[in-house]
């Protein structure tokens, strides 16, 4: 079970006598407290999520012939969705491929790092955790812009790769899919490392000793004990990386080219430049629906319900 259900509230039985009556009072007080605590969050969600979400859904169904100047009419135009898929399927597909590759790279880079911090860092543990989140002290935009310099045509990285033949003499890194994926990987790595660290750090070290005692070599012990016990972190980390990466447009805009546009770039263009609100809204909805469907499928597949 991924989520521990809270203990059942005390059952009120009619014939339980005076002590039960006291409990009933307690229970009522407690449950009201719970509702009061929910209130600020519920209001926040209502104002900043439910209302905009309603607006987004409504916009996505507006008359596709309308414009900002002429105004829009609610025509329940499901057609917007079909048009969006037909016109932007490349960008949608590319978004998921780039996000998927970046997520895999984050996992491959992040797992050993999180493992080292959790089990091997000793007194350097806190310092290393600070270093993991240190990039957040600088703005997302600045960090991505600096990757333009790192991968620019005259950068040491490019000239070194050209020198050793990894890259053709006129080859580039900037404005390629490689640069976009590299930027995504870099920017979302901490979102992978932190949940992985949290789940690895919780693992009782004696379980790993027990696996060794029961004839598991270190590699088998990792595969059979450590990795399964850290699956909650793997699932959380991949979701926290994949979801924002799939909707990201900064990396594709600053590090990519028109050929590496992601769906986020399209939505941004449609909203800010083209002013095609119904199309932008329906594309946003499609992105959201696809992500929710994938997450649902993934979480079921990963079997988090069976994880402790």
């Amino acid at each position: 079970m991924a989520v521990q259900s809270p203990p059942a509230p005390p059952v009120k039985t009619p014939d339980a006598g005076p002590p039960a009556a006291v409990q009933v009072d307690d229970g009522r007080k407690r449950s009201w407290t719970g509702y009061w605590l929910l209130l600020p969050g519920a209001v926040w969600l209502g104002v900043f999520f439910v209302v905009p979400f309603y607006s987004l859904v409504a916009t996505s169904l507006f008359d596709e012939a309308g414009s900002v100047l002429a105004g829009y009419e609610m025509t329940w135009s499901i057609n917007n969705y079909a048009t969006a898929v037909a016109d932007y399927s490349d960008e949608l597909l590319r978004s998921f491929i780039y996000a998927g590759i970046a997520t895999m790279l984050c996992l491959l880079l992040g797992y050993p790092l999180a493992y080292a911090i959790a089990f091997k860092a000793g007194r350097w543990k806190n310092l290393m955790l600070v270093l993991v989140i240190a990039p957040f002290f600088t703005s997302f935009l600045i960090r991505t812009l600096s990757w333009q310099l790192l991968l620019g045509d005259n950068s040491p990285i490019v000239s070194t790769m050209q020198a050793i033949g990894l890259l053709a003499d006129d080859g580039r890194l900037l404005a390629t899919g490689f640069a976009v994926v590299a930027g995504l990987t870099y920017n979302f790595l901490p979102f992978m490392v932190l949940p992985l660290y949290a789940s690895l750090e919780k693992i009782d070290h004696r379980l790993i000793e027990a696996a060794g005692d029961l004839y598991a070599s270190p590699i088998r012990g990792f595969a059979k004990v450590t990795l399964p016990l850290s699956m909650a972190g793997v699932v959380a980390g991949t979701l926290l990386t994949f979801i924002p990466a799939a909707g990201d447009y900064i990396n594709a805009q600053l590090l990519g080219s028109p050929n590496t546009r992601m769906v986020g770039n399209v939505i941004q263009d449609l909203f800010t430049d083209a002013g095609d609100y119904p199309m932008a809204a329906s594309l946003s909805m499609i992105l959201m629906i696809l992500i929710v469907a994938m997450v649902f499928f993934y979480v079921r597949k990963a079997g988090t319900e069976d994880l402790v």
């Binding site: 009782d204 004696r206 379980l207 000793e209 027990a210 696996a211 060794g212 005692d213 029961l214 004839y215 598991a216 070599s217 088998r220 012990g221 059979k224 004990v225 399964p228 016990l229 069976d306 994880l307 402790v308």
Partner: protein, 390 residues
């Protein structure tokens, strides 16, 4: 095939006198700031139930972890029969451990927990063996559960089954009953002993509970501060402790200061605050100079001051009862002696005479053969259980 069948493992190694005793030779483990285990030598006979007994921090768990391969010794060797396992990795040793907190895999069912060792070794008949083992520890029908769904006692059985199924040459038990409540602990002590006799494996049991060690073990090694104080069968350790630590840690002892003054045949004569007491020389740790005369509280009997007593009986007159605790089957007396020491007496409530009241003047006596003598260089309070310690 039953679990007692170890012919497979014996066939793997060339005949070598046939014995698969566990031997520790000059085993030492030093940590940065202290020596946890200090040059111990130990032989655990094949098929025996061996207890390592001592207070927390005495080095018994470190010793166990070295046998399991979870700690690397600083010096010394660990041998299983003729096989030197000192440098083998844990997963290469024919040794399994029942961990103190069980360390069951929370993501696996009971069945998979028990099957873990067999699967890693690529053995066959996993299903049948697991079922058989779960029957042995009375877990039949529970194998689909996760460890978290089971009680402490059941988890303990899973941990035991998970280790036993591999038929290790030595099964290590690290305070396996420490987390159970008293009643369950007594029950599991009997159970563990039954299982050990049934499977015939060598059990090495680490505990700080002297009663547990005496109930279950054939041989006990009492450890203190990284060294072994004494090894022997429970009755021998109890009746004839060789150090004040053993005398106090294993049960209770009255230790009274005295001096050896004379010999009387096979006995030594000891002067204790002006009283001539006798003690058998073969029960004496030292035969001259200052000594502690030790006697167990239940070996001491009481009589009203001045009553006659027979020959060959040691008598300490002049005591005053200072405290009486009625326990039911017995009564615990504290008796203040003229030299201001309080001695403890356990008396069975046979009803032969009325209980003494606090303030009563009494004489204490015991059979000569019941006293033991220890070198007076030792601290008389070593190993005494304190309220906060163990």
């Amino acid at each position: 095939m039953t679990v007692t069948d170890t012919s497979d493992t014996e066939a793997d190694t060339p005949a070598s006198g046939g014995t698969r005793d566990l031997r520790l030779e000059s085993l030492t483990k030093e940590f940065a700031t202290f020596t946890a285990v200090d040059d111990i030598d130990l032989v655990v006979a094949q098929g025996s139930f061996f207890a390592l007994l001592g207070p927390s921090g005495c080095g018994k768990t470190t010793t166990l972890r070295m046998v399991a391969g979870l700690e690397r010794p600083t010096a010394g060797r660990i041998l299983l029969g003729d096989l030197d396992v000192t440098t083998l990795k844990p997963y290469q040793r024919p040794v399994n451990t029942v961990f103190q907190s069980y360390a069951l895999f929370p993501h696996l069912t009971v069945f998979e927990n028990v099957a873990f060792g067999m699967r890693r070794q690529g053995k066959k008949d996993v299903d049948a063996e697991v079922d058989k083992m779960c029957e042995l520890v009375e877990l039949g029908g529970q194998t689909a559960k996760k460890p978290a769904q089971m009680s402490g006692g059941q988890q303990q059985r899973v941990a035991l089954a998970r280790a036993l199924i591999n038929k290790p040459e030595v099964l290590l038990l690290d305070e396996p009953l420490g987390a159970l409540d008293l009643k369950l602990r007594r029950q599991m002590q009997v159970e563990l002993k039954r299982i050990q006799l049934e499977v015939g494996l060598t059990f090495v049991h680490v505990t700080h509970d002297q009663e547990e060690a005496m109930t279950m073990a054939d041989t006990i090694a009492v450890m203190n501060k990284g060294v072994i104080e004494q090894i022997g069968p429970p009755s021998e350790l109890y009746e004839n402790p060789r150090t004040t630590f053993v005398a106090n840690f294993l049960g209770q002892s009255n230790l009274i200061g005295g001096e050896v003054t004379d010999r009387d045949g096979a006995d030594l004569v000891v002067d204790v605050h002006g009283n001539r007491l006798g003690a058998e020389r073969e029960r004496a740790g030292t035969d001259s100079g200052r000594v502690w005369v030790g006697v167990r509280p239940e070996k001491v009997s009481m009589s009203a001051a001045g009553d006659e007593h027979g020959d060959g009986v040691n008598c300490l007159p002049g005591g005053t009862v200072s405290d009486v605790s009625f326990i039911g089957v017995s009564t615990l007396y504290l008796v203040r002696m003229p030299w201001d020491q309080e001695l403890t007496v356990f008396e069975q409530n046979t009803g032969a005479r009325a209980l003494f009241e606090p303030g009563a003047a009494v004489d204490l006596h015991w059979q000569r053969g019941h006293a033991f003598l220890l070198d007076a260089d030792q601290d008389a309070s070593a190993g005494v259980e304190t309220v906060d310690g163990r």
